[in-house]
């Protein structure tokens, strides 16, 4: 199903607008589908920042206290059965959380003591404890959270949202990813356009090296040289086009070079934090040990959505703490706590939190118990039946905790929903109906939830 171009430079421009280049052609259509589209229903959220906690953060040690585990701490038991993987079977023991829990804000939300900064913002947050996923394997679970399909190959949620809503900015991709230096398991398939046209693919802004691949001319080539090369190219292309004037894809391709030329200037501008106030950088933890990397991502996320990017996904991790939960989760929480609190505060101060949906979650939760990995060590395995997740802004129910897990945090028991319902809810908050946001591929109309789901009304304010 080839994607058809919307932008056709007008004939006159295509035929005669040579040497000067085709700079006036809309930047947009070459990078992504341009126009902002109509939503399926009125919605508060206009854009989304998805904080992806890769590796599977433990709900039990973050936002879902389990005093029962203190009682059962280090009690041993065995688990077996046809549905158990090698990881979760055999000799096990319960593990209490090494962290104290506190009640935060007016709402009295549960939050572990490591979250020093986020504790100040819990009244803006809607905590959700009812989500379940299907996989306890990192790549399949990451694919499921990000694309709805455990086996990959489908479009990422940001691709779906951009497909549904278009982009507000003609000069930037609609779906931007801020990955860690190391890509997650499953790689770039986590932000793929899948079967949607390539325009909806997540564009990673890499934290090291060139932010976009091949953005800059190679060493030894300056911009003037490049400009001259592009002008020569335009002339050569012109002769070819003159005998094929009805071929819009040829002129569109010519315009894409001018767009690329402009991107070389625009992208570095967005990444340049010099214009930000010293106090802002301080708030986000930029330039400070531990928080710098994610602080930059959070600030960049705000800058991007401010410029009209529809969907930003920022990665932090790796939360896969099978051992030493106190050290591992403690250090990870500290690395994101300040940046996230700053992001929420910043969005609120700018009046953007109301129409920006912020999501925090990993690909699954963690178990209340652990295996005998080389003897006893406080850690946790993967848990698809319970997880930590929260939302802020974008029309969600601030200051509430929805759903519950059982008394040891093994399984969600109240307001239980499959992750597909979370997907439907996210789309709903953005004005999209999962059942209407479909794309025909491989014999059927595909959708983010895969086979349909329901909106979790309890999460909506």
């Amino acid at each position: 199903m080839a994607h058809h171009f919307h932008a056709t430079p007008n004939r006159r421009e295509a035929l005669f607008g040579l040497g000067a280049g085709l700079g006036s052609v809309a930047f947009s259509s070459l990078l992504q589908a341009s126009n902002t589209r109509t939503v399926h229903h009125p919605a508060k959220a206009k854009r989304c920042i998805f904080l992806m906690m890769e590796g599977g953060p433990s709900h039990i040690d973050t936002f879902d206290p389990k005093p029962e585990l203190t009682k059962r701490h280090l009690q041993k038991f065995k688990r077996s059965g046809e549905r158990q993987s090698a990881m979760s079977s055999g000799q096990r023991y319960f593990v209490k959380s090494p962290f104290d829990f506190e009640k935060g804000g007016q709402s009295g939300a549960d939050i572990s003591s490591e979250w020093v900064h986020l504790k100040q913002r819990v009244d803006d947050i809607c905590f959700y404890r009812g989500a379940k996923v299907e996989s306890v394997n990192h790549p399949t679970a990451c694919y499921q959270i990000n694309t709805g399909n455990r086996f990959g190959g489908d479009p990422g949620i940001g691709a779906w949202v951009t497909y549904g809503l278009g982009s507000e900015n003609q000069n930037l991709p609609g779906f931007v990813v801020l990955p860690r230096t190391s890509y997650p398991q499953g790689g770039a398939g986590n932000w793929s356009n899948g079967f949607l046209p390539a325009d909806y693919q997540g564009t990673p802004l890499r934290p090291e090296g060139s932010p976009i691949l091949d953005l800059n001319p190679p060493v030894g080539m300056n911009r003037q040289r490049q400009r001259q090369n592009l002008d020569l190219l335009a002339k050569l292309n012109q002769g070819h086009l003159s005998t094929r004037p009805d071929r819009s894809e040829l002129s569109a391709r010519m315009a894409s070079y001018e767009l690329a030329y402009r991107m070389q200037m625009e992208v570095p501008e967005i990444l340049d934090l010099k214009g930000e106030k010293e106090s802002t950088l301080e708030d986000y933890g930029i330039g400070q040990k531990g928080t710098d990397a994610f602080g930059r991502k959070c600030l960049l996320a705000r800058r991007l959505v401010e410029k009209g990017v529809r969907f930003v996904q920022a990665y932090a991790g790796n939360w896969d703490s099978h051992d030493y939960i106190a050290r591992a989760h403690g250090s990870l929480i500290r690395s994101v706590d300040k940046p996230i609190a700053a992001l929420l505060k910043d969005l609120k101060q700018r009046g953007m939190l109301d129409d920006t949906l912020v999501i925090w979650c990993g690909e699954f939760g963690r178990t209340p118990d652990n295996g005998m990995r080389g003897g006893l060590s406080y850690g946790r395995d993967h848990n698809a039946n319970a997880m930590a997740m929260w939302f802020a802004g974008g029309g969600t129910k601030a200051g509430h905790t929805i759903g519950a897990t059982d008394d040891i945090g093994a399984e969600a028991v109240d307001c239980v929903h499959h992750i597909r319902d979370v997907h439907c809810t996210i789309l709903h908050l953005l004005g999209l109906d999962d059942n209407k946001l479909t794309y025909y591929h491989a014999g059927r109309h595909k959708q983010l939830s895969q086979f349909g789901g329901e909106v979790i009304r309890e999460l909506i304010g």
Binding site: H3, E82, R83, Q84, A86, M87, S135, V136, N137, H138, P139, G152, G153, T181, S182, Y183, Q185, G189, P197, A198, G209, I212, L213, D214, P217, M221, R225, Q228, N229, L233, L236, N237, G239, H240, T243, P245, M254, S256, L259, A260, N318, W319, S321, D323, Y324, R327, A328, S331, G375, L376, Y378, H382, D433, N435, T438, A442, G443, R444, H445, Q447
Partner: protein
């Protein structure tokens, strides 16, 4: 499934047309007109004698409303009592009258559709009350009228017996005999006749003499549309079209000069081994070829390359298609089992798959069974079988039972890496150097580990307290590093197997549960004895592996058997050769799907567009054929000509239709008469594929190493991506290192290593398909990152410089160099104005380059990485060694070239970027 209605108020007449369908069902030959009329009278007599004539409303209910409820509503409103949504049960008239939680007695007001929510919700005019909720399931306007008219008629609901009677007598559309549906309404479903085209026997169509049969069918439609075709393409355009179309490579200037006839040139191209490489690429797109397994470990598939080369050989030798199918599906079961056929079964293991300690074997085994069933359905039968996994197919006559019957064919199929000696025609080059490099990596890790283990041994302390809390004296980063190196050692050990004479294949036997699967899988000597079980073949309710339903026996698509009038095939059970039976069923000349599917694909490879628009989906949701008679003619011709792909290519290429110009003399008329460009009045121009683009540059620069086959080549890829840390289970994967010599790196793109976890961004940007889903046809998008790649990447810089170097070596003057550049890259000389512009641009570029002193490039021998240690979440730095860098010989570098060469390279880069180079007329 939209039905056509002539009138808004619904009425079902009793007509000859319906009787036709009825007779079809009773399987009387439709030509026996007299018998038909006799039976018609008889039937009518019996029915009228048995019951009072049903009212229009009753007929409407039995024929239209009930099936509509069943297919669109009952899943949530009656099929499963526990799952009834909104308290609204639609199983009886009474229940509907009672209504649900929302509208109660406003749901159905007999006689008044405008007050009945049952009708109103289907019109999708009230926000949040659109039914069915999924946009993809929404009713057509005509379908909403059915409900409206039924309500208006008083919403009659006859007894089940009476419904059956009415259906028997009056039903429209065609019933299809299938294995057995999950529910009765589906079993009785009727289909629009034209949606069933792919199951009907392939027609024999007579054509007039003196005209190429393809042109006959194409001209007929063009005449109807009053659209004159474009004239014949110029020889230069044809030569380029043929060369890329048959070999994926550009023609040489000698090809252009010596071109005599399309037929001769096509023969010559198909005799070149590059033909098989190019056609293999098409096939590998469908079968999702990759050199690694994907997911958490992305383990190397060390023998995948032998399957890739098998496909190349099959096309080059013009293996009859039935043999090609049989070998891939059942190469281990066929009587002519051979090394070649064992390698072919690699097809069955091409999908992404892994089993780790995190997953449950039963589930991952089921993933493979689902994957292979769907993949075989799409590849050979153009049936995405996944659509029938959880419920009977929504649109096509494919019951869920067929899905599980086909899956049962594979339930005794097990993974095994056979010992298969290398064939004389297999390329064993680079084995030694590849092996040495892998060993160097493994040894490097082992050395690093030995030092680390010593350090850890010295530092280790007993943990305090009753549980370990991380005070064992070790740097957690060291512990993580240790695990990372162990994992990478095991990954490279697997990789090192690529020089072993084994084939990634399958055998038939019992299923043995395994918690971890990695590396060599020795086929079991006695596959029916020893541990394991013969899987029970059942329907899995809702597609859930833990919910077995009815038992099934192996089988295939029942609709193809009934509508296609095939002899029912016998599939073995138990220890029989099930895959061989399926393969034989597929290649049975009476199979209505197989020949159509492959000729449709081959057509699409030539024209960039298929006759039936979705080569992987011949069902009702796929596009109907634009030229159904042509498709049947080609399918029949293909079978009659020994299922020879080369002959079919030649047949297609020698038609006028293929040889047309891509430019229509009257674009306006074309746009008006054939806006969708379905009529082939022009040859559809296309962009080169990612692989063709890279190969064409290598040909122009003279760098292409044209040798065939062998272990995957590791080209230079964007260095930032190559060194991008990629998380795998247990740590960070080792660094991608390109092959040490230009000859190894600069091979055809077909041979470039395809790792699921690490895509080459050059290929990905230019729409190379992903490795999860089967790709029926390449897409072309135009996005700005393509331009960035083609102006800034190392790849393009290297090709442009080598091209410039070649030009200067082969010519004496500036003018000659420019002319040669155009000739090699574009197959023509520059016009004088172009020559002038390029000559003056070169002078300018030379002057700039003369002021520069480029530095030479040496790849780093180690990289320092900082990561968060999994155990502690704290930062840790380690060094990754790159043994490949020590023996790396770069391509021609700027530092080795003079200013004139470098200056010319800018012009070469411009030519590589031009639309003329990148597009094919």
């Amino acid at each position: 499934m939209a039905m056509r209605y002539g009138m808004p108020e619904y009425f079902v007449p009793f007509s000859q047309g319906k009787a036709d369908n009825l007779f079809h069902l009773l399987s009387y030959p439709s030509s026996t007109f007299v018998l038909k009329n006799f039976l018609l009278v008889l039937l009518a007599f019996i029915t009228i004698a048995n019951a009072a004539t049903p009212t229009d409303g009753e007929k409407l209910f039995a024929l239209k409303v009930k099936p509509l409820f069943s297919s669109r509503c009952m899943a949530c409103h009656g099929e499963e009592e526990k799952k009834i949504k909104g308290g609204f049960d639609m199983r009886t008239r009474e229940a509907i009258l009672k209504g649900g939680d929302e509208f109660e007695d406003q749901v159905l007001v007999p006689g008044d559709p405008s007050k009945s929510q049952l009708y109103l919700v289907t019109t999708r005019t009230v926000e949040d009350y659109e039914m069915p909720p999924k946009e993809a399931d929404k009713l057509t306007e005509e379908e909403t009228w059915i409900i409206r008219d039924w309500i208006k008629a008083g919403a009659p609901w006859p007894s089940d017996e009476r419904i059956t009677g009415i259906q028997k007598q009056y039903a429209e559309g065609e019933r299809v005999a299938t294995s057995k549906a999950l529910n009765e309404d589906w079993q009785n479903r009727r289909y629009e006749s034209e949606k069933l085209w792919s199951y009907r026997p392939i027609k024999k169509i007579a054509i007039p003499r003196g005209v190429h049969p393809i042109d006959h069918f194409i001209s007929k439609r063009l005449k109807e549309a009053k659209l004159p075709p474009a004239p014949r393409a110029k020889p230069r355009e044809l030569v380029r079209r043929l060369s890329f179309g048959l070999t994926g490579l550009p023609p040489s200037p000698e090809d252009l000069a010596g071109f005599k006839s399309t037929s001769d040139y096509a023969e010559r191209l198909m005799a070149s081994p590059h033909y098989g490489e190019h056609f293999a690429q098409h096939w590998l797109d469908i079968t999702r070829y990759a050199d690694s397994a994907g997911f958490a470990n992305d383990y190397y598939r060390p023998h995948a390359w032998r399957y890739r080369d098998y496909v190349v050989r099959a096309f080059n030798r013009d293996k009859p298609y039935p043999d090609f199918v049989r070998e891939q599906l059942a190469g281990d079961e066929i009587p002519s089992r051979s090394p070649e056929s064992l390698i072919a079964t690699g097809f069955l293991r091409m999908g992404p798959w892994e089993q780790t300690g995190m997953s449950v074997f039963k589930e991952t085994r089921q993933f493979w069974l689902d994957d292979v069933t769907d993949s075989v359905g799409q590849t050979f039968l153009a049936h995405p079988m996944q659509c029938a996994k959880c419920h009977d197919h929504k649109f096509d006559p494919v019951p869920t039972r067929d899905y599980y019957r086909m899956m049962a064919v594979f339930s005794t199929t097990q993974f095994g890496d056979h010992d298969v000696p290398f064939l004389p025609e297999e390329n064993l080059n680079y084995f030694k150097s590849s092996h040495e490099l892998v060993r160097a990596k493994i040894d490097g890790y082992k050395k690093q580990r030995a030092a680390l283990e010593q350090k850890m041994k010295d530092a280790r302390k007993n943990e305090t307290g009753e549980a370990k809390v991380g005070d064992n004296g070790l740097d957690p980063g060291d512990e993580a590093s240790n695990a990372r190196m162990l994992k990478n050692i095991s990954r490279h050990e697997i990789e090192s197997n690529r020089t072993k004479p084994r084939a990634q294949g399958v055998y038939t036997g019992k299923t043995v549960q395994k918690n971890h699967i990695r590396g060599y899988l020795k086929p079991v000597a006695n596959p029916w004895k020893g541990p394991g079980e013969i899987e029970k073949d059942t329907i899995l309710t809702g597609g859930d592996v833990y919910t077995p339903g009815d038992p099934v026996t192996p089988g295939a698509l029942s609709a193809a058997e009934s509508l296609g009038e095939m002899n029912p095939a016998r599939f073995p059970r138990d220890k029989g050769k099930r895959r061989l039976a399926l393969a034989n069923w597929i290649v049975d000349p009476a199979n209505p799907l197989t020949a159509r599917v492959i000729v449709n694909r081959i057509w699409s490879w030539h024209f960039g567009k298929a006759i039936a628009g979705n080569p992987n989906n011949f069902g009702g949701t796929g596009a109907n054929p634009t030229h159904p008679e042509l498709l049947d003619f080609l399918a029949r011709w293909f079978i009659d000509n020994g299922w020879s792909v080369k002959k079919l290519n030649h047949f297609i290429i020698t038609s006028e239709t293929y040889q047309r110009s891509s430019r229509h003399p009257s674009p306006d008329l074309l746009a008006k008469a054939d806006p969708a460009q379905n009529l082939y009045s022009i040859f559809k121009p296309r962009r080169l594929t990612a692989e063709e683009l890279r190969d064409a540059m290598l040909v122009a620069s003279g760098e292409l190493n044209r040798e065939f086959g062998g272990i995957a080549s590791r080209p230079d890829i964007n260095p930032e991506v190559a060194r991008q840390p990629l998380l795998i289970m247990g740590g960070i994967a080792s660094v991608y290192e390109p092959d040490p010599t230009p000859a190894q790196r600069n091979r055809r793109s077909l041979y470039a290593e395809k790792l699921r976890g690490l895509r080459d961004p050059f290929f990905e940007t230019f729409n190379q398909p992903g490795t999860s889903d089967s790709c029926e046809l390449r897409e072309t998008s135009t996005v700005a990152p393509q331009a960035l790649t083609l102006i800034n990447s190392q790849e393009i810089q290297d090709r442009a410089l080598a091209f410039a170097h070649r030009l200067l070596k082969e010519t004496n003057t500036n003018r000659q160099a420019i002319d040669r550049a155009f000739q090699l890259a574009l197959g023509r000389l520059p016009i004088s104005k172009e020559r002038e512009i390029f000559l003056s641009a070169w002078v300018k570029a030379n002057a700039e380059e003369a002021t520069l002193k480029p530095e030479s490039y040496t790849p780093p021998t180690f990289i320092a990485r900082t990561v968060r240690a999994e155990k502690t979440g704290e930062l840790y730095t380690f060094e990754e060694f790159l043994p490949g860098s020590k023996i790396y010989q770069p391509d021609l570098q700027r530092s080795q070239s003079d200013a004139r060469t470098r200056g010319l390279s800018h012009l070469c880069l411009v030519i590589f970027n031009s639309n003329e180079f990148v597009y094919l007329d």
